[in-house]
Amino acid sequence: MSAPTNSYNRPNAPHVCGRARLWQKPCQMGPKPDGSCGGTSSCMPQKQGDRWRCRRSDALGGPCTEGPLPDGTCTHTRPPCSPGPSLRARRQRLTTAAAFLAIGILFAFGMAGGIGVDDGYASRDPGPLRAAHTSVMDDKGCKSCHAPHGEDATGFLLAAFSNTAPDAVANNKCLDCHVFDTLNTPHKANTCASCHSEHQGHDMPVSSMTDNQCNACHKKKVSSFSNDHPPFAKAYPHDRRTTINFDHTKHLDDYFKDQRYAENAPEGSCISCHDVSQASRAVPVRSFDQVCANCHVDQIPRRDLVLFEMPELAHNPIDTEELIDVCRANPELTQESEFYSVSTEIPNKLATLLFEMDANDIEGYTPAIGDILLQAIEDGPTAFETAIKDWDGNPARLLAGLSREVIRQASCAWAFNSEYDAPAPPDHGGWYADELSLRYKATSHGDPVMKAWLSFIAQLEEDDLTETLLTKDGPGACLACHAVSQADFLNVEWSPAPRPETANFSYDHGPHINLLGPGSQCETCHSLDKTINYGANFTSYDPTVYASGFKSMTLATCKECHGETKLASGCQTCHSYHGESGFKSRQFSEAAGDVNKKQGE
């Protein structure tokens, strides 16, 4: 391509001929560098001596015959065209515009203006937080989690060189609200963001772990629940006896079928006693009134607690003449005669312990009994209150409802060596006195005074008392069902004992019951072991030495559904990484305090 026939066309040229853009023949010279038309004449004549010489190219026919005009301009002229930008130039313009547009958008949406967004953080905000986190950010905004930086550009950029991550080890903002057992757990991830990413929308679910992540650390690799899961413990899930001495086998097979009790037996199976509507980790038993009272409610008021029983005295320890007015007694009762004690009993064990008497030393305890009676006549229950306090008891709870008049009248009678002419025992229970004793009759199941006394007696851990009162024949018949167990101390188990928390494990009865139908398949997992005498478990105070009335569960039971089926059978189905977790209560109390403060203002 020789120079005379080569046109101006170059890909790098910034402009193209306007005629070419209209699909006409472009001029040879092309646009000028400034973008104006360079083809208004066929050539640029050259002056040689005193003459102008035509320089039209060969491609256009060579030098013309007319030659240049006298002033040196070309004879052949035509109107100018409108050159346009070349492709390269257009690409450069678009590239520059795109860069500035991107900068402009970033600048507009947050770096300065915050156009169209309320918080002005749009170009710094990688996205909305989860709904739960949004609600706790309050007025702090980003500073709730991110370390603040300087307001100016320098401070902003300097922050890039410091550790500002919300979950930085040195200053983990997540732990301002979230609580984990970070000391006793073997699960110690470096950062929260390893699993929990934020700024991905209000409804973004919390990340869940995979089985591979569990197997990465655990020595025992479990490829699937049905193949490699270690067997359950031998007695699983029974690791201690229940707090109620309830023999399922005897009740279901004997009592409920006995014609004497059949009409009181609950209708249905397990769910007549267990409340499946409350099913979660356990399926709680319905209340005593709902499931036990039909048969057992009459046993409660039959056995009274005897607080004080007038014992046989060696002599009259009281100067009764001084009590004639106080007790409004017959003066004839004070006449001296040979003393025959109205009672022939020894002091009852509870009073013996409270007042620290020797029941076999009649000469020793007779003055003490006299003092008790005198104090009871003058101050009512004070004598007992003092003794209870000496044993670290709570007289307000233990003596709740004890009438000062009842104790005074009975004590007067006993002081004059007479039997107390007592009214009929109260129908609905409570404190009362009979001829020679001060008693408490339980009003109903869960009677607080009776429970307080039995708990107090257990707390004393005196063999004489526990062997006589903390038995199934004891007061209120409470311990016919409620177990007495020795853990750190002896106690009566009034409430169901929750199974000890198993770290990183959870089980919910609810979905299983809902899936299988209430009560329809309880026996699938909980099969009775009818060879066990469950009541024998309660002869000891140790709740862990026992034989369950149900057969142990095995993996096979679970595998029936969670084996090679579509049902979930991964590690996370039952196990969780964090185990027990929660929120710091102070976070909410502080928030509440702020609200209260604002309301006050």
Partner: protein
């Protein structure tokens, strides 16, 4: 069926880069398995895979930066660009972002990917098609060529009319050939390899020959040659236009994307490093 040399040139680097991405994916899985966070390293690898193609532009612009041939750079550009798609998915966990600027970034990346894949298709398909025409036309000279063909066609029609005294060919030229020679036609059909231009040309030439004076067959032959040449010129124009103009979208989008990427790097280091 043999693989074209251009495709073969791209194949091996792409396979290598995809395998490297597989290795990165495997590494990231292992890190996540032990509860580590591969996001940062994935982010920097992704950044490198995005920056590397940009050097191809420098290679073309800067005389001093003449390391390696342009074809090698193009190959690296294509391979690392495809790797960037995989790395982007790994870096984001396949989740579409929800923040404004991150959505802008993701949208730009998607647009770059789309235009890039279109560009790759043009690089693989259109040059071969142009070679198959058997002619070469400089893109910038095509307007002049079209004008020359148009002038020649008009001259042939004029010759025919003067020789026969018939206005048959001149009327036909006004109704159809004038439209055809005015500028390149059948653009998208030529881009996608269609034969609409040839079909149109054959139909009109058959019609001319049916009614033309047999004694003027030489003139008719010359017009037919001009029409055939125009078909090839149109093919060149369409294919070369696409080969050049897809960059009008790809390059500006890439530039905007790099700006937002730079902002993203600053932001994550300020707030999350």
């Amino acid at each position: 069926m043999t693989v074209a040399p251009t495709r073969k040139r791209f194949m091996l680097p792409i396979v290598i880069f995809v395998l490297l991405c597989g290795g990165v994916w495997f590494w990231a899985q292992n890190v996540e398995t032990v509860l580590g966070d591969p996001t940062w390293i994935l982010g920097w690898i992704l950044t490198a895979s995005v920056i590397l193609p940009s050097f191809f532009n420098l290679r073309k612009r800067l005389i001093a930066f003449n390391f390696g041939s342009a074809s090698v750079w193009l190959t690296l550009h294509v391979a690392s660009g495809i790797a960037a798609i995989i790395l982007f998915v790994l870096h984001t966990d396949g989740i579409w972002p929800t923040g404004i600027y991150e959505q802008l970034m993701a949208t730009l990346f998607a647009a770059i990917t789309l235009t890039g894949l279109c560009g790759l298709w043009t690089q693989l398909v259109l040059p071969r098609r142009l070679t198959e025409t058997g002619h070469e036309y400089v893109y910038e000279k095509i307007p002049g060529t079209v004008a020359d063909l148009r002038d020649a066609a008009r001259q042939a029609v004029k010759t025919y009319t003067e020789a026969t005294g018939s206005e048959l060919l001149s009327h036909h030229y006004e109704k159809s050939l004038d439209w055809y020679f005015a500028r390149p036609r059948f653009f998208w059909n030529n881009v996608f390899g269609g034969n609409a231009a040839w079909a149109w040309a054959n139909a009109h030439m058959i019609a001319i020959r049916r009614f033309a004076d047999p004694l003027q067959s030489a003139t008719i032959d010359s017009i037919e040659n001009l029409v055939s040449t125009k078909v090839v010129v149109d093919q060149h124009y369409a294919c070369q236009s696409v080969l050049k103009r897809w960059l009008l979208a790809h390059v500006p989008l890439s530039t905007a994307f790099l700006v937002v990427v730079a902002w993203h790097i600053v932001i994550v280091h300020v707030y999350a490093s």
